[in-house]
Amino acid sequence: MSEVTSKWNWEITGQTSYWGASLQELWSYRHLLGALVKRDFLLRYQQTVLGPFWGLFPPIMTLVTYVLVFGKFVGIPTDTLPPVLFYFAGIILWSFFNNSFSGTSAIFRDNIHLFSKVYFPRLVMPASVISTHFSTFLIQLFLMLLLIAYYALFQGLSLPVSAHLLWFPVAVATTAALALGLGLLFSVITAKYRDMGHLVSLGVRLLMYVTPVIYPLSSVPEKVRWVVQLNPLTPLFEAFRLSLLGEGTLTGAQVLYSIGFAGVVLVVAMLLFNKQGDKLIDVV
């Protein structure tokens, strides 16, 4: 037994590691992830008549507003696409990004009562936030497909089914990675410096205007287009529309830029989250 005695399963020291929980440990908490997503769903829609259909309500209201304000009054061109489809595609991807990012960046503030009472790999929480918003996104996507079908059948919208569909998983996955990465990064920063919380919500709102949500990239004047293109979300939104609606302005290099950007942010954020996460419990 002396060999076993000298071996320890775990060790807790003042030093935190960049690597955090092992994959094996994360895997053992997969049911917790499922239960948390289920919890969020139940909490949101329990005791309501419409249930998950409430997930459709905000994007539809936003859509109506955009069609009226930007489409009718301001008159922003939407290429050759019907405004309803154009705006709705932007709205659902943006709300997925926005909700995932905001939810993840508030992870310490929202869960301190749990974090200070029980140990579990902290990454489970942001993962559950992203999963919850992803399922809402899927419901909204379903409505999007219905709208596309309506326009294709009754309005004569031509939808050439092409290899562009392959952009769809790329756009959604990269958006999720970017939201998670930025969210983790800001969760650490806002937990430490509360002031940043206010800046973040303002920043996200401004970010929407340099992202082609309500306008196509092609309508941006050449002179200022580089500003919009600097935003790693831009190629993702263009790719998303290209895959679903067949119109979008992008090059392979731009998509690679987005993927690279999201990848770097995600890795850095995860390392920082692992390294700082345990220490933050003392200061939140």
Binding site: T5, N9, W10, I12, T13, L42, L43, S116, D278
Partner: protein, 428 residues
């Protein structure tokens, strides 16, 4: 010799006091500037080992240099007054907060119960909450599923299992929450004072479960409690923390003894040098009053078994009076327990001494104070010396596994006979 499953080495934890957050950005910048640019020492954190740092403003050592080992299958009680670092220690061992210096190493799966109902959500049904709480506490899906019925049975709320927890009474809530916790099967279980909630009946059930768990093979328990009786009965060893410093780590009865003795607030002796400054009046002046507990060598606390002798001396200032002394014992709430009168004595001017003894196994546990009265000619009161002595009597129950408050003003040991008269099965 059982193997060591938890080893705590030189563990210290430093907390910053005050508003953390605002201003810390400036401090962080200043720290970076000092450390990396100027190469100075960190002004906000001086390494551990410099114990005098604890006196510095804005910081507090919640734990200092804690060392101990826990063997497989041991139950360890952690005692200490509020703010002594007990919860911090448990949080570090549960991996919730990081120590400032030192380390903890261990073997096996750890589950911690730092509150009742970890992860419970008011809006969700009992069923949902069992799953979420179970997963959070580290149970696997199969484990929760296997124990599900048992958990519901233990909590006794079968019919409300699909009702949102917000509609539960607080008792039902606590029962369900504890039921989940009670069915954990970790190698090392960490429990923080969760038993302080709930009614006496529920506490009994919890302690019973704890007892069962601690008896089970190879289960190690770390247990914070203010219930000394429970620590004594459930734990093999106890750790006494005092303001973050380890005062003792030994057999639980020995540690509990020392800890309780340090808490007892007594006024066991008062002495006055001359009649001029002594309490009294123109009839009598007290020279000394004293309470002498008859402690045996194994214990230095006054518990319900300890005989107590009250001894006093007073200057009698008048010639040839007949005096009676009275010893009146009050409980802390002011109820008179007894009023004991001495026989009358024809006293001359000078010192008079008297004593009386309260036998062991007579008083119930609690706080008491004593008043001495002096009367003349066995009828006329001439002096009352209120609260001249104060003492506490600690509980002692031996093997009785009842943990609630023992009621009654006194707890005498009268002869009590109980026997089996007939041995036959009852019909029906």
């Amino acid at each position: 010799m059982a193997e060591t499953v938890v080893q705590v080495e030189n563990l210290s934890k430093l907390y910053r006091l005050g508003t953390i957050g605002t201003g810390s950005f400036r401090q962080d910048l200043q720290r970076l500037w000092n450390q990396h640019v100027l190469g100075k020492k960190d002004p906000f954190f001086v390494g551990a080992g410099q114990k005098d740092f604890s006196s510095g403003p804005g910081h507090i050592w919640a734990l200092q240099d804690i060392n101990f080992e826990v063997k497989r299958g041991e139950a360890i009680g952690i005692v200490g007054s509020n703010g002594s670092g007990k919860s911090t220690l448990l949080k570090i061992i549960s991996r919730i907060v990081r120590p400032t210096t030192g380390r903890v190493r261990g073997k096996g799966k750890v589950s911690s119960l730092l509150e009742v109902g970890t992860g419970f959500n008011q809006e969700l049904s009992g069923r949902e909450n069992i799953y979420i709480s179970g997963y959070l506490l580290g149970m696997s899906k199969a484990e929760v599923a296997r124990k599900f019925d048992e958990i519901i049975a233990f909590s006794g709320i079968e019919q409300f299992i699909d009702t949102p927890v917000k509609r539960y009474s607080s008792g039902m809530y606590v029962r369900l929450a504890f039921a989940v916790a009670a069915h954990l099967e970790p190698d090392i279980l960490i429990v923080d004072e969760v038993l302080a909630v709930g009614d006496a009946d529920f506490q009994k059930k919890c302690l019973g479960k704890m007892h069962e768990v601690s008896q089970a093979e190879a289960r190690t328990i770390l247990f914070v409690s203010h219930n000394m009786q429970a620590v004594n009965n459930l734990c093999d060893k106890a750790l006494w923390l005092d303001k973050g410093v380890m005062r003792a780590f030994d057999e639980s009865s020995a540690v509990v003894n020392k800890y309780v003795a340090s808490l007892q607030k007594h006024r066991l002796r008062q002495v006055w040098a001359s009649p001029a400054e002594a309490p009294g009046n123109e009839w009598v002046r007290f020279k000394c009053v004293e309470l002498i507990p008859h402690l045996d060598e194994t214990s230095d606390i006054i518990d319900i078994r300890t005989p107590l002798t009250i001894r006093f001396r007073f200057w009698n200032l008048r010639q040839d009076v007949s005096l009676n002394l009275g010893v009146v014992l009050y409980s802390y709430s002011g109820d008179c327990i007894f009023d004991l009168l001495s026989p009358a004595l024809q006293c001359q001017q000078g010192l008079v001494e008297g004593e009386c003894t309260i036998p062991g196994n007579f008083l119930n546990d609690g706080s008491y104070y004593i008043m001495l009265t002096v009367a003349k000619d066995s009828s006329i009161p001439i002096y009352k010396f209120d609260e001249c002595l104060a003492f506490e009597v600690e509980d002692y129950r031996g093997d009785i596994s009842y943990y609630g408050k023992w009621c009654g003003a006194v707890r005498p040991k009268f002869p009590f006979r109980l026997e089996q008269k007939e041995h036959a099965l009852l019909p029906g």
